[in-house]
């Protein structure tokens, strides 16, 4: 009988507290070389703390870290790298001003403690690293000029180049399209097959089912489930993560028949980004817009809000034609837009939750003499925090103190406060955990029932099916197909997309 030599990586009985709060209480995790392991868990479940302990950022209070033959009670960042632990963070930690080659090769030089570097060798190191994972990217391009998907692959190339034995990937698919995710999975498979213990941190259940062999589910700093992926059903994973039954059934409210149109878009065109886009939305209707990254879906959403230039076409809101290319006109007409990247576009992170909530329409809260009424502000803030179930002790805390799901609710509240006729949500649940996601979708549903119309731009197909009355698919800037409520199912949508 032949045995394959594998090594084991992981932790035993790790305890870690911050102040009085226990982040991890006795977590054990074991990953074999050559397998893809999933760590699933909601925000605050202890995933990030675990990664930070394994990469040497935090020292555990007690417990062991096992890296192959060696065990440690704690690691320094340098030791972690030397022992082959690499983490690919969500922001990839790449330097936009340097070339692809330099980004890949610099850590190699640092590890070697070189003082000098040569351009030829830098390129050589990079080319070899990319070849190793079977990826073809122009190594002379500055990282600022390449796509997010390519950045991810570069981060992987860089990690493998450093002799990675255990590779953590933190929410690697968040910003990727289906196609890019497929390519990423091929690369992960390559890395795995060369004996790397790969850890995939994610809460997208479809994806972890597709790529992972084993799984550990964390909740509130404890392991609540682990085992072979194939023994877990979809529901079992989400139940373990949330501790409650979260259903993914459709919640779109019944649509009342109406001849009225909240918005009527006619032949909207900006070549080459999109052309001849026409659709209309009834009051209370939720329209899904999907397409691959780069299909023009985001640009279309921005164009309706007046932020992306439109060359020709017409937009009518409530029967009145509005001026194109002006977001202030769009706002006036009653269109709201929540951008996909809430961190840079939607929120003032260091400002208080309250201030963020009232930022869109400050004029409302003016008292006589033009000063802001503190009392009015506090009332409005309290109402939204209660309405949208934003979890905070104090509305004066900065938004940055909230979890991703709660931040997204602040963005939503901010725009809902204006009571728009049409709300455009671009990626409303990106980076948000399952429990929060459901609640956000419920907020959308409740508003729609009151007659607010929605455009939900997303590449999360299950989400669109849960909430939308209709879905249009954008391909190369055209509407390639429209699915009515009866036609909506995952299979046909994925098929249309790819």
């Amino acid at each position: 009988m032949s045995t394959v030599l594998t090594s084991e990586y992981g932790v035993e009985n790790i305890v870690k507290s911050f102040g009085g709060a226990k982040a991890l209480s006795g977590v054990s995790l074991s990953v074999q070389s050559g397998e893809v392991h999933c760590i699933a868990g909601e925000n605050g479940s202890g995933k990030s703390t675990l990664i930070k302990i394994m990469s040497g950022v935090h020292a555990p209070d007690s417990g062991l870290i096992r890296l192959g033959e060696r065990t440690f009670t704690e690691l320094s960042p340098r030791e972690a790298v030397q022992e082959g632990v690499q983490v690919i963070f969500q922001d990839f930690s790449l330097l936009p001003n340097l070339t692809v080659a330099e980004n890949i090769a610099l850590p190699t030089y640092i590890l070697r403690k070189s003082r000098f570097l040569s351009k030829a060798e830098t390129k050589d190191i990079a080319a070899k690293a990319l070849e190793l994972i079977g990826v073809d990217i122009d190594i002379n391009a500055p990282v600022a000029e390449i796509s997010i998907a390519s950045k991810q692959l570069i981060a992987i190339a860089r990690a493998t180049n450093l002799g990675v034995k255990m590779l953590f990937m933190d929410e690697p698919t968040t910003a990727l399209t289906r196609k890019e995710i497929k390519r990423l999975f091929e690369v992960v498979e390559q890395v795995r097959s060369r004996g790397v213990a790969t850890v995939f941190v994610s809460h997208k259940i479809d994806e972890i089912q597709e790529i992972c062999n084993t799984i550990t589910v964390l909740r509130n700093g404890e392991v609540v489930a682990d085992g072979l992926m194939k023994d877990f059903k979809r529901d079992a994973i989400s139940n373990a993560m949330t501790g409650i039954n979260v259903s993914e059934t459709r919640i779109a409210p019944e649509l009342k028949k109406s001849e009225k149109k909240v918005i009527d878009v006619k032949n909207l065109t900006t070549k080459p980004t999109f052309s001849d886009i026409s659709f209309s939305i009834a009051p209370g209707e939720i329209l899904g817009v999907t397409g691959l990254l780069g299909s023009g879906r985001t640009e279309l959403a921005e164009a309706i809000f007046g932020q992306y230039p439109v060359n020709s076409g017409e937009i009518h809101v409530d029967g009145k034609k509005i001026q194109l290319n002006s977001s202030s006109q769009a706002l006036k007409a009653g269109i709201g837009y929540v951008p996909p990247d809430r961190l840079t576009q939607g929120l003032f992170l260091d400002q208080s939750i309250l201030r963020n909530l009232v930022a869109v329409d400050v004029d409302q809260y003016k008292s006589s003499g033009g000063r802001l009424s503190k009392k009015r502000l506090a009332e409005v803030g309290d109402r939204w925090i209660k309405d949208l179930r934003i979890k905070t002790k104090n509305p004066l805390n900065p938004v940055s103190s909230l979890s991703g799901g709660n931040q997204q609710r602040v963005v939503l509240a901010k725009w809902l406060a204006m009571n728009p006729h049409l709300m455009i949500l671009n990626g409303p649940t990106v980076g948000v955990d399952i429990g929060s996601k459901r609640e956000i979708l419920e907020i959308i549903r409740d508003r729609a029932q009151e007659g607010m119309a929605f455009i939900v731009v997303s590449d999360d197909i299950p989400e669109l099916i849960q909430i939308c009355h209709r879905v249009i698919v954008i391909k190369n800037g055209h509407i390639s197909k429209e699915f009515s409520e009866a036609e909506l199912n995952e299979e046909v949508l994925y098929k249309e997309l790819s």
């Binding site: 340098r78 922001d91 330097l95 640092i110 000098f116 600022a144 080459p272 780069g294 023009g296």
Partner: protein
């Protein structure tokens, strides 16, 4: 590199600007096109260029240093005072230069401590040390004008590599400094492009967190950067004293505008991460050309500072426009990619 990229480069724009400006000045006053004018531009660029190379490194690292003029004159003036007070060999050139560089590095180290150890924002830190250094110099080193600088330094002011007397026109003299300054410029260029320190400086300007995760020490890199600027400023200061043949503790104040303008015109991004030595050299030459020769266009000297200030703003605006255009292009590229798929 393809032609289009080459044409769009900042350096190309600078060369074009220099040529156009020269042609305009030359049409107005033909005496502009003489060797003597060229050599004068070089001579007035030496000190500026040394300062600018230091500032380039700081700006690429994502910081700013406004204390370099005072570090320069502090070092230069103190070196002269020390030479006189301790009766050091007045004919020596090496001693005052070495003194000034050491003093410059020491003052740079003070900036390093403020910035790397205490984490004070770079502009505020160097603004603060500017005041401290000035006060210290005027109180403890001296506040009087020194016209009889040591002989070695004095003689060096007229150490010419070439003297050419054309058939018509004035004597053209090329100072010997052209050689060491060229070497230093090349060394800084190599330092930035071929050493881990240099690449760390670019990395730091590109992103602090990502640089830290690479395992590069932010503090150590910053400390080295401000000491390097200090050393270069010290050298610039003593050469300034030598070329001027006087040591005036009130000199150089205000030269930060010219130098920072030159570096930014040269394409260094005020946000950090971008900038080249070649661009900086061209930026310094352009500023020298303007400062020395606007008068030939009938523009009065008092307008020079306004002109340099305006150029600085134009350069920064151009950077901002270029940045947003790039962002737009990026979008089109992703769309094209999508179309191909």
């Amino acid at each position: 590199m393809d032609l289009k990229k080459l044409l769009l480069r900042n350096e190309t724009a600078l060369i074009v600007a220099i040529v156009i400006l020269s042609v305009i000045i030359g049409m107005k006053s033909p005496e502009f096109f003489t060797l003597s004018t060229l050599f004068d531009i070089f001579r007035s660029s030496f000190v500026q260029l040394l300062f600018a190379l230091g500032v380039l490194v700081v700006i690429v690292s994502g910081g700013i240093d406004v204390s370099f003029p005072i570090v320069g004159i502090f070092s230069g003036y103190s070196a002269v005072v020390i030479m006189q007070r301790f009766n050091l060999d007045t004919n020596s050139l090496a001693i005052p230069i070495a003194l000034a560089i050491v003093i410059g590095i020491a003052l740079g180290a003070v900036n390093s401590i403020a910035i790397a150890s205490f984490g004070i924002p770079t502009l505020i830190a160097t603004l603060g040390t500017t005041g401290i250094f000035r006060g210290l110099m005027l109180t403890f080193i001296g506040s009087s004008f020194i016209s009889d600088i040591p002989a070695g330094l004095d003689k060096f002011a007229t150490a010419d590599l070439l003297k050419i007397t054309p058939a018509h026109g004035t004597l053209a003299r090329l100072h010997v400094l052209i050689i060491p300054i060229t070497i230093i410029t090349i060394l800084v260029s190599l330092l930035l492009s071929r050493t881990m320190f240099g690449r760390s400086v670019y990395a730091l300007g590109g992103g602090v967190e990502a640089t830290r995760r690479l395992g590069i020490s932010i503090k150590r890199t910053q400390a080295k950067v401000y000491m390097l600027v200090g050393g270069l400023s010290g050298l610039a200061g003593i050469l300034y004293v030598s070329l001027q043949r006087k040591a005036n503790p009130y000199d150089l104040a205000g030269s930060e505008l010219d130098v920072i303008a030159a570096v930014v015109l040269g394409g260094a991004s005020i946000l950090g991460g971008y900038g080249t030595v070649f661009g900086t050299v061209l930026g310094v030459l352009l500023i020298s050309l303007i400062k020395g020769n606007l008068i030939l266009l009938g523009i009065s000297g008092s307008w020079q500072r306004a002109a340099v200030g305006a150029l600085l703003l134009i350069a920064i605006t151009a950077q901002a426009i270029g940045e947003s255009r790039k962002a737009k292009n990026r979008r089109v590229v992703t769309n094209d990619e999508a179309a191909e798929k």
